[in-house]
């Protein structure tokens, strides 16, 4: 400390002193933040340091640092494995289907909700539409199982219409649709909140001017309200792209069974099976890292595209 000070001269000496002074003056501020910093180091950055086991043969007795390096062995064995391409295909299809299909619904619904004049009814609809957001995934998948298995609600409706009984829960062909559309059922209402907020900020002067020019409600919705929420929509789209391949472990895990595994087996479930169940830590950490890196680049790519198309971007 002393030698550094004498080298860097008088100017930085006073600067350092003033920094020290500010640190002492505001020490309580730093104490308020300290616990969270410690928490992030332990639960976010220690695991990131631990990611090196993806390039090692992790040995519990040696610990993370002392385990021997093996380079890309685990990555190679993943790509050579029988499962690899099925897993990647399932994950990518489910991710894109889910992202594309669920994206427009909150936008459309919030535009429609915004046109409802009866404030009481609007509030009432919102209350109901938000509710599914708070339903846990276990209950949601439980409801799917009840509704879509033989003798369930859907089966009963089908039998009224004269269709034969189908067990959707164990059908590989139905898995993706159930996954995506139950997500839309659950998330659309909640997704409206942010768009409704953006719509409430639209300048009423624009609408008045358009009305004087003879624009209909539909035209005003299309030419005034929709452009007003597009920047918000773009930002949300980019953020969704970032978690694209983080295909909900939780929901896929709950929905997967022996019979629909052909389409329901996604990368995160494989990581769980190999890592937590078979304790093959290095291999599954490597698969996780691969997943993570792809995700990270997805954000960058989608961000770049959005920037080029609409001049709105996250960073």
């Amino acid at each position: 400390m002393n030698s550094v000070q004498s080298v860097s001269g008088q100017k930085s000496k006073t600067k350092r002193k003033s920094i020290l002074k500010r640190l002492i003056r505001d020490y309580q501020l730093y104490l308020l933040v300290l616990p969270v910093i410690i928490w992030y180091i332990i639960f976010a950055y220690v695991p990131m340091y631990g990611l090196q086991i993806a390039f090692k043969d992790y040995n519990g007795a040696l610990g993370i640092t002392a385990s021997p390096w093996v380079g890309f062995k685990h990555f190679q064995s993943f790509f050579r494995s029988y499962y690899a391409w099925t897993l990647i295909k399932n994950t990518v299809i489910l991710a894109f289907y889910s992202m594309i299909a669920s994206f427009p619904f909150p936008i459309i619904l919030s535009l429609l909700l915004n046109e409802i004049k009866n404030a009481h009814y609007k509030k009432c609809v919102q209350t109901v539409l938000y509710a599914p957001h708070f339903i846990s995934l276990v209950v949601l998948v439980g409801m799917l199982n009840l509704f879509f298995s033989p003798n369930g609600l859907i089966d009963n409706i089908r039998s009224l219409l004269g269709a034969e009984s189908v067990n959707f829960i164990t059908s590989p062909g139905a898995f993706r649709h159930l996954y995506v559309w139950s997500g839309i059922w659950q998330g659309t209402g909640w997704g409206c909140i942010i768009y409704l907020a953006a719509l409430s900020g639209v300048d009423p002067g624009l609408h008045e001017a358009a009305m004087i020019d003879g624009a209909s409600r539909l035209q005003r919705m299309w030419h005034i309200n929709l452009p007003a929420i597009l920047p918000t929509a773009t930002i949300l789209f980019i953020m969704n792209a970032g978690s694209l391949l983080n295909v909900g472990f939780e929901k896929a895990f709950l929905m997967k069974n022996d019979l629909n595994a052909d389409t329901a087996y996604v990368i995160s479930l494989y990581i769980y099976d190999r890592g937590i169940i078979k304790t093959d830590f290095s291999f599954s950490a490597a698969v996780g890292l691969m997943n993570n890196v792809i995700n990270f680049f997805m954000v960058l790519i989608v961000n770049r595209i959005a920037k080029a198309l609409s001049e709105t971007s996250l960073f």
Binding site: V33, V36, V46, P47, I116, Y130, N151, S216, I276
Partner: protein, 299 residues
């Protein structure tokens, strides 16, 4: 605004709009309503597909079976514990940090925020996190569902944005001139002014704890007595582990009744597990919009 009269075209638009929104409302509402009416109905009627708009042959058998199950009661107790202690821990960690990081005289706050936000886009992943938790000796302890869930980056950003914009800085400055320490300003002036924020965070964190099953799945694999309700729900709703006992009766009609009851109690279980949320839902509703609004101000 109302200078110009509505045209016929606009009235048609209104009508169609109202119909579409009402259909959406029913699509969301009916499955929820259906669960409620089934849970009160006779198991045989539900299995025969006779329940559509109202409960049939009202009975509380499903609820009785649910409340006689020891696993469910233990899970319920555990979840209440995790929700209360976990949410308090979340608030104790998030609120002071968010306040500190919102202050301009906090040196290096941008660097710290960068490293915090980075974790939203890049993380160690399931396995290294699991090894860390295991290394800390938290596996199969009560803390496994509380400490690793300590802070959510999204909520931290929401809180920081609120403190930066929602609390008038003049009040704080006046207090500091009067000789208040930072601790006192935070605890006695800022926190009492932040009830909306505390409401939002309690809601977000509380719901997350109430619905948590993933951490229980991997961290509590051999601590049966500590698993939360969601884990028990998974076993009964999805893995079908629960059978309603028919006792010693071999009566065929009774056997069928109990077989159907085993299915029916799932409806009751869904209601029981969601009951606390349903009760507080109307009171928390005013915080929904606020929460998303505060969060969307960032940047």
């Amino acid at each position: 605004m109302a200078v110009i009269k509505e045209t016929r075209r606009d009235r048609i638009f209104n009508g169609i709009n109202l119909i579409i929104v009402t259909v959406c409302l029913l699509l969301v509402l009916y499955p929820l309503y259906f669960v409620v009416i089934c849970s009160f109905s006779n198991p045989n009627s539900v299995a025969a597909g006779e329940v559509w708009l109202y409960p049939k042959d009202i009975t509380l058998d499903a609820y009785k079976t649910v409340f006689e199950n020891k696993d469910i009661l233990i899970g319920y107790r555990n979840t209440i514990f995790y929700t209360i202690v976990g949410t308090l821990f979340n608030l104790a960690l998030t609120l002071p940090a968010a306040y500190g990081l919102s202050k301009k005289n906090f040196m290096g706050r941008n660097v710290i925020m960068f490293f915090i936000v980075l974790t939203m886009y890049f993380s160690g992943g399931m396995i290294p996190t699991y090894l860390t938790v295991r290394g800390l000796g938290l596996l199969n302890t009560w803390w496994a569902l509380i400490i690793p869930a300590g802070c959510s980056t999204y909520n931290l950003i929401v809180a920081r944005t609120f403190f930066a914009n929602g609390v008038p800085s003049e009040i704080e400055e006046a207090a500091i001139i009067d000789g208040c320490s930072t601790f006192r300003v935070f605890f006695q002036i800022v926190l009492p002014l932040s009830k909306a924020l505390i409401g939002v965070l309690t809601l977000y964190y509380g719901v997350a704890h109430w619905n948590e099953y993933f951490r229980a799945l991997i961290y509590l694999s051999s601590a049966r007595e500590k698993v939360p309700l969601a884990q028990v729900l998974r076993e009964i709703l999805i893995l079908n582990t629960m059978k309603a006992t028919a006792g010693s009766s071999v009566d065929e009609e009774m056997a069928l009744y109990y077989a159907n009851l085993a299915n029916l109690l799932k409806y009751a279980l869904i209601i029981v597990s969601a009951a606390p949320l349903l009760v507080v839902y109307p009171f928390l509703q005013k915080y929904f919009d606020k929460g998303v609004m505060i969060g969307s101000l960032k940047g």
